[in-house]
Symmetry: C2
Subunit: 318 residues, 2 copies
């Protein structure tokens, strides 16, 4: 596939085009991903999540600058949240990533909500793979952890960094709500604000409660992203965690789990396309069936069975 | 199916049991829903959504009390958000629904996050249908509109009420972020707080911008839920909107769209179960395939194709 070849040769234009192709679920997207796949597995994937306003974008910006100063290349996938209540916030965040937007070693891509089934996490996963195959040393996924989709996305990273901030009343809630499982590294950003030390203590206490069986105790760091305070320590912890993953065999375990989820998503997606085609090819029949269900002549379960049978026949005929 | 018969006979115990069966995705859940389906379509479904802290639970409580005083029965499905950042909040909200929890004409069910594909919206949809078949006159779905799943859920209601509150800095953002499409009725709750009138004006302005082609202009109401202020007006608007839906033919259109989504979800879910069984029945083969992908002897796309073919054969054999 020529587009994939161009991506492999380092064309940024081809890179952007290929991601668009995958994001828009074009018919040849699957073929493109098959071609991309053999070149993946070299990038290290960093997930950054946290509530709105915690300063994730600025932190991403600073981490990226540090990685660039060590001559690593970086790809960033910024997830615009699906939430109708915070959808507007991230657009402004993009502007805050000024320090890196003109750097040729950095490629930034924003992903918006996708309509279809699991579309966001599939598109994000594919984009990460494309950036990986392009040759990026690091790929950073930045997302507001609002929905199940976003949590799933962060779980696919090699390391997940959970960013919180003091105040706002959300600190205790954030700790309560089962996020401990997500974070490999905790960051209390905006740590010059009141309550930063208390928040660190609280997170550590929560971690200690559940820590007895863990072989990696997540560290809790303080940062002030705009002043770059604590960012070096954060990068050190990312390295430490990476060494832990490699030496303990967890990295390959995690990546195997990721492949497991990838396969399930690919299968679901392809079957969804069979269903979509089935409906579109005989719209009138489907609309008639809907009418029959509304008027209680049919029921959706019987119709669903018929459609599953039709999908089965189509797969077998293929 | 005996359990469904018992639900139809009015057994609250059977009702709770049937919902649990559906929520836990038991093997006979589909059969149960097939049996339930013919009895659905009589309840009126009210969706209530809004950001955390807007006072949705108290409002739900007051609306329910008013409906009860008119001798209507009410089912409530309260969605615990999937968000790890606000997951803790709703537990407290349940406590706030004190006014109705001891009333036999009211059935309250909390739904938690489901692991599997679209599980939350499927389980919620099924629960609404069960409450409908049980004979509830109204079913209220209350959810924090944080994720795509929750937005999808609210879209399945006959009427969607969007609750916001003044202050907190979220007001402007909430309006900006494309929520206008979701709300049939807007409620500025906690309207004794500063900025309530400004928020009403802002929402009305936003609504007017996009309103030229709409045949229903969403009203913007002010409420103070704990004091029951504005709750009567809200119920009047719900009735007005219902009359509009019926007279314009939109109600049957909306319900047809809901059935369309139901069918897609049932098909997806059943196919997912084929896939799940396929993986579980020959775990060793699947694990070997994952290993082969990790070591680049195989790729996930080729494996996915093989699994789709196997699903196709199984469907045809059934």
């Amino acid at each position: 596939m020529e587009l994939v070849d161009d991506v492999r040769k380092g064309s940024v234009r081809a890179l952007a085009k290929l991601i668009t192709l995958v994001e828009n679920e074009m018919p040849n997207a699957l073929e493109a991903m098959e071609n991309i796949y053999p070149y993946t597995g070299n990038a290290y994937i960093i997930g950054i999540t946290g509530p709105p306003g915690a300063g994730k974008s600025t932190l991403t910006d600073k981490i990226t600058q540090k990685l660039r100063s060590q001559n690593f290349t970086v790809g960033i996938v910024a997830i615009d949240p699906t939430s109708p209540f915070s959808g507007g916030a991230l657009l402004g965040d993009r502007v805050r990533m000024q320090g890196i937007s003109s750097d040729e070693g950095v490629f930034i891509r924003s992903m918006a909500t996708r309509g279809s089934l699991g579309g966001l996490s599939r598109a994000t996963g594919d984009t990460v793979k494309i950036l990986d195959a392009f040759g990026k040393d690091y790929v950073i996924i930045e997302t507001v952890g609002v929905g199940q989709d976003e949590v799933d996305i962060i779980k696919t990273a090699d390391v997940s960094i959970l960013v919180v901030m003091p105040g706002g009343g959300d600190d205790i809630q954030a700790i309560k709500a089962g996020i401990m499982e997500i974070g490999d590294i905790f960051v209390v950003n905006k740590s010059d604000r009141d309550g930063a030390d208390r928040l660190v203590t609280e997170i550590n206490m929560m971690l200690n409660l559940g820590a007895t069986t863990r072989d990696w105790i997540p560290p809790v760091l303080k940062t002030i992203a705009p002043e770059e305070k604590g960012v070096d320590s954060l990068l050190e912890k990312i390295s430490e965690h990476r060494e832990f993953l490699v030496s303990s065999g967890r990295l390959s375990y995690q990546r195997k789990e990721r492949i497991r989820n990838d396969i399930i998503k690919i299968v679901e997606y392809e079957i969804f396309r069979y269903l979509d085609r089935l409906i579109r090819e005989d719209k009138e029949l489907f609309e008639q069936r809907l009418e029959d269900i509304v008027s209680k002549k049919e029921d959706p379960y019987r119709i669903s069975k018929k459609m599953i049978d039709a999908i089965g026949r189509r797969i077998s005929d293929n």
